[in-house]
Amino acid sequence: MSDHSENLPAFCHPASPKLLYAVFFALIFLTLLTVAVSALGPPMGMPRAFAFPIAMIFATMKAFLVCAFFMHMWWDKGFNILAFLSSLLFVSLFIGMTLMDTSHYQDTIEAFDVQQLTGVEIAE
């Protein structure tokens, strides 16, 4: 994919402009598609609730394109990719465990707020 001419050092991989433009137009296309789905509703009679997952799938496709070609990950060292992906792993671990816990005690938080509304004084 990269035009690797002979006089460039081994670590220098210029991406071809054609590829970069192609990626850019793909990104724009996906963005417009996302807005369209959000504004007009999902295609083919899918329920309205699908609009958000579809938007996230498109976002992830866009993220992949940016990472792979704009950020040269396609040609990069495996270790750099591993480092990058590990960050996503740890963020999802953080989200997963916390989400699993907080959903269990929301009632308590709500009760506290309702108390406040019903006039129980809470010290400022």
Binding site: E6, N7, L8, P9, A10, F11, C12, H13, P14, A15, P17, L20, Y21, V23, F24, L27, I28, T31, L32, T34, V35, S38, A39, A51, F52, A55, M56, F58, A59, K62, A63, V66, C67, F69, F70, M71, H72, D76, K77, F79, N80, A83, F84, S86, S87, F90, V91, F94, I95, T98, L99, T102, S103, H104, Q106, D107, E110, D113, V114, L117
Partner: protein
């Protein structure tokens, strides 16, 4: 090319351009690899830094979907979409700039980097329009969130003259000063025959010009959107009571009937003890939005809690905007060095690293856009 030859070339570069190789590295490749791993690790820290806010977002969205549904009407998805396209374009020019640096084409690199910076400024201009519009409507963080706040007429003369929000005028003070300063500096550089400096300052002025372009385009988009049926909901001036609250009261009524059903089920099974009820509650909480709002039928409270969404919105977009500003600063440094003609095929690391950072800022926005603007 034979391996030995490559090695010799590296050695030559090492001696010819020693100033680019720090003393503790063996050669350009080791220096480049170190820098590249360093910047990737920095991006990892950035992702985890933003990760905290994504966690907050996910938790509140999953636990209080009703807040998010009510809040999204205040966000203009066309402005958000515009900014997405601006950032994607800046990513393209950044990637082209990196390519130019890799081929040693310093002038091309400078042009591409400048376009990237202009896009960054356009983004901030659009953001300024969005923020000031929200502040006008009393849409602030949770504690200051107040939808009954009346939209004030502009008091500043610039605001009256251009029919724009006072807040927008205040925000634009700094860019205006910067624009004047950079232009003066550019002119001084011209007079003192410091050509590179003069060009650099001219570049920075063009960049700040991008901010005003962003403000202009943002205002036009805002007008168009307000004219459309979709966004009139967002304007709180349409009725005595905000439309949003109408919607909520309706939903609450539905929920109340929901609750009645719930009660009936409980009555029809008098043996069902408290634990069962608890399980039922949890099931509901998992089921999603409508079920949850059944627990707090108070529309006023729901309306206040919409402020939590905007707390998260301001934290996420604010932190992102700070990163855009940081990006402009480091891109200026790249622009300066491009004008000095410092990039070569074996020394383009800094452009590549700043490019990676810039793409990450774009990447985060790619997710922020659907998460914040496209909730339905």
């Amino acid at each position: 090319m034979a391996v030995a030859d490559t090695h010799e070339i590296h050695d030559d570069h090492h001696h010819d351009h020693g100033e680019f190789i720090a003393h503790h590295f063996d050669g350009p490749e080791q220096q480049f690899d170190s820098g590249k791993l360093g910047i990737w690790l920095f991006l990892v820290t950035e992702i985890l830094f933003f990760g905290g806010l994504f966690v907050a977002y996910t938790l509140y969205r999953s636990n209080h979907p009703e807040i998010f549904e009510q809040a999204h009407v205040f966000l203009n998805k066309y402005l958000g979409g515009l900014n997405t396209i601006v950032l994607l374009f800046s990513s393209l020019t950044m990637a082209l700039g990196v390519r130019a640096a890799q081929l040693g084409k310093n002038k091309n690199c400078a042009v591409y980097v400048l376009i990237t910076m202009v896009c960054a400024a356009v983004f901030l201009g659009v953001k300024a329009v969005e923020y000031s519009h929200k502040w006008d409507m009393g849409i602030l963080v949770r504690s200051a969130f107040n939808l009954t706040y009346t939209h004030p007429a502009p008091v500043t003369s610039v605001g009256k003259w251009l029919h724009v929000s006072d807040y927008l005028v205040y925000i634009s003070v700094i860019p205006t000063l910067l624009l004047v300063g950079f232009l003066v500096a550019s002119l001084m550089g011209k007079l003192m025959e410091k050509n590179v400096f003069s060009k650099f300052m001219l570049g920075l002025s063009i960049m700040v010009g991008g901010y005003f372009l962003g403000v202009g385009v943002g205002l036009i988009f805002m007008d168009v959107a307000e004219g459309g049926a979709n966004e009139s909901h967002a304007s709180i001036q349409t009725a005595d009571q905000p439309l949003m609250l109408h919607a909520m009261t309706q939903e609450t009524r539905e929920d109340a009937s929901h609750d009645e059903n719930h009660d009936k089920t409980a009555e029809s099974h008098p043996a069902a003890d408290h634990v069962d009820g608890q399980a039922h509650h949890e099931e509901h909480a998992h089921a999603g939005g409508e079920a949850f709002s059944a627990h707090h039928p108070d529309p006023e409270k729901l309306s206040r809690n919409v402020g939590i969404f905007f707390s998260i919105y301001y934290c996420m977009t604010g932190l992102h905007a700070i990163h855009i500003i940081g990006g402009i600063v480091v891109l200026s440094w790249i622009l300066w060095r491009s004008l000095l003609g410092q990039w070569r095929s074996d020394y383009f690391g800094p452009v590549d690293y700043v490019g990676l950072y810039w793409h990450l800022v774009d990447l985060i926005w790619i997710y922020l856009f659907p998460l914040l603007y496209l909730i339905d």
